[in-house]
């Protein structure tokens, strides 16, 4: 499996990470090498194997629907790069 330049650019779009052409070329090489190596898994027949989705193999416990953290607006906004004391501020989304 080769990850070509077009695929690299597509993944970069999906990942919301912009990359320049030089980086894309490097990633093309690295990702191709990594996926060639990963393809070793196809040697294994796993048709009748159930996927492991949780290591603990227990059902998640229920908890009471209670508010634990109250009045923490300041805390929530404390690390935001831009806010107006009530909300996070982002570039205009709706025209």
């Amino acid at each position: 499996m080769t990850i070509d330049l077009k695929t690299v650019k597509h993944i970069s779009k999906l990942s919301r990470i912009s990359i320049d052409d030089q980086k894309a070329k490097k990633l093309e090489k690295d990702l191709t090498a990594i996926f060639k190596w990963i393809e070793k898994l196809n040697q294994l027949n796993t048709d009748n194997v159930k996927p492991l989705t949780s290591i603990a193999e227990t059902t998640l416990r229920f908890r009471k629907d209670q508010i634990i953290s109250k009045n923490i607006r300041e805390d929530v906004l404390k690390n935001s790069p831009k806010d107006n004391k009530d909300y996070f501020v982002v570039p205009k989304v709706v025209e």
């Binding site: 912009s18 194997v49 949780s54």
Partner: protein, 485 residues
């Protein structure tokens, strides 16, 4: 008389309890030594002034019932610490100051410990050499220009250089055990669900575990006892009766059955590691344990499966870094442009690479071929261990396929870097406890480690075996403090 800096954690606790030394004295000693060890680049955030104040406060009204009375500790910068900068060694979090405390570090402070500072690591714990940190690579005290391993490289280096009496790291695919092995120290990854993940910067949520990194097995048991707890704030935390790992530590391992998996004898493994493994078996026999050959047939597939599962989870976890809620932001022409620029400039190359692998294997049309396949292989690997543990109590393997390597040696070849974790990754995939203990030196006098893998929740079992082996191995390694100016 032993130098105070040479005391192990448990010895130090005794000295403080017997009032031979004060918290302030020992805290000052560690601060001074840390200040003169900048060359190793272990600290990314120092809280020395606060530590000194806290030590004075402890001495003014000491509580000697606590398990870590007035003990100064530096921790990996992946644990959120309230009002103390927490960066995960990433540019994207370079100014992040948590408003809450991780459960594991809270357990340390509740037991009387004092924060010395935050330790360097690979960016978002993604790396095996501590070379992916935004704050520069960490140097091992073992030798100039040698990597300490990773991702808990700052922790391992600070521990081995005696800049902290003990420390904690996190382990997603070997990030505690591999650097412990590289630096001649002890590192334990607990069973998944043993230590709370609350407040730990997330990498791969089904694999991440916090664990102790210490100078010897006794220290390891004590620190595990402090940090392991059931935590309702972590939905995967498991409520089981945790033993008193330290007081129940026991050298009698007569009749224990130890498995030797033939698949861990990998191609190109240096002779000295093979010999070390043989020696390990002899030590165990001397202790009265029985050695049994076992097979873990899917071992070879663990690493490729890991490099699907871990990046997939990472790409989801790291989607939160968007320049909106916290962290670094680069303004853009519109919202999407802002996301793309922020993430492009905020993440380092290895993190971007893994996000992209993860995004790809989860993307439409590829999910079944990669992600589902990897989860099935993960099941086979877990089944291998389940079968093995029907026959044996624990498994002995080398910790790493080689000793520590030079800075820059593997940075251009991601696959060769990933192969470093070949013996540690299966343990995370199966959620098992594993411990690395120093077991010998290679031809360059670099430390080598052996790993013990236990049944789920049997940390006590592998600690006991490690404890009895430690006595036989009698590992002695003293650095000459070459990095101190």
């Amino acid at each position: 008389m032993t130098d105070l800096i040479d005391l192990t954690l448990t010895q130090l606790v005794k000295k403080i309890k017997s009032k031979d030394i004060s918290s302030k004295d020992i805290t000052s000693i560690y601060i001074e030594r840390s200040k003169s060890s900048k060359k190793l680049n272990t600290y990314v955030e120092e809280t020395f002034d606060e530590a000194l104040e806290n030590s004075k406060r402890f001495d003014a009204s000491p509580d000697f019932q606590k398990k870590l009375p007035g003990i100064p500790l530096a921790v990996k910068d992946l644990f959120c610490t309230k009002n103390v900068k927490t960066t995960a060694s990433s540019k994207i979090l370079e100014n992040f100051v948590p408003t809450y405390e991780s459960t594991v570090t809270q357990n340390l402070w509740n037991s009387g410990a004092i924060l010395l500072g935050k330790l360097n690591c690979d960016e978002f714990a993604m790396g095996s050499s501590n070379e992916t940190s935004h704050f520069g690579n960490v140097i091992s005290p073992i030798d100039d220009n040698l990597v300490p391993g990773g991702s808990s490289g700052g922790s391992a280096s600070a521990l081995a250089a005696k800049l902290t009496p003990a420390t904690i790291g996190t382990d997603t695919g070997g990030s505690i055990r591999q650097p412990a092995s590289f630096t001649g120290t002890v590192g334990l990854k607990p069973t998944y669900g043993s230590c709370s993940r609350y407040g730990i910067v997330a990498f791969a949520s089904s694999l991440d575990q916090a664990g102790p990194m210490t100078r010897d097995v006794e220290d390891c048991a004590l620190l595990l006892e402090v940090i392991s707890s059931f935590d309702p704030k972590d939905s995967t935390s498991i409520d089981f009766k945790r033993p008193h790992y330290y007081s129940e530590l026991n050298k009698n391992i007569k009749g224990k059955k130890i498995g030797i998996p033939k698949e861990y004898r990998v191609e190109d493994m240096p002779d000295e590691i093979e010999k070390l493994w043989e020696k390990g078996k002899e030590y165990l026999k001397d202790c009265g344990a029985e050695i049994i050959d076992i097979s873990l047939p899917h071992t070879n597939y663990a690493l490729p499966a890991y490099y699907i599962v871990a990046p997939a989870e990472a790409s989801s976890n790291l989607a939160r870094y968007d320049g909106v809620k916290y962290g670094f932001r680069v303004e853009g022409e519109n919202l999407i442009d802002m996301y793309e620029k922020t993430r492009s400039q905020g993440f380092g190359d290895e993190v971007k690479r893994r996000i992209m692998i993860g995004t790809y294997v989860l993307s439409s049309g590829y999910y079944d071929a990669y992600y589902l396949k990897a989860q099935k292989v993960r099941k086979l690997i877990k089944n291998d261990f389940d079968d093995a543990f029907n026959k044996v109590d624990a498994i002995l393997t080398p910790s790493t396929p080689s000793s520590a390597f030079k800075v820059g040696e593997k940075t251009d070849d991601p696959v060769s870097m990933y192969l470093n974790d070949i013996f540690t990754v299966p343990v995370n995939l199966a959620g098992l406890p594993g411990i690395s203990i120093p077991a010998g030196l290679d031809k360059n006098n670099y430390p080598l480690g052996l790993q013990l893998i236990g049944k789920p929740f049997d940390e006590q079992g592998i600690l006991d075996i490690a404890y009895s082996m430690e006595e036989k191995i009698n590992f002695k390694f003293k650095t000459n403090d070459w990095w101190i100016k």
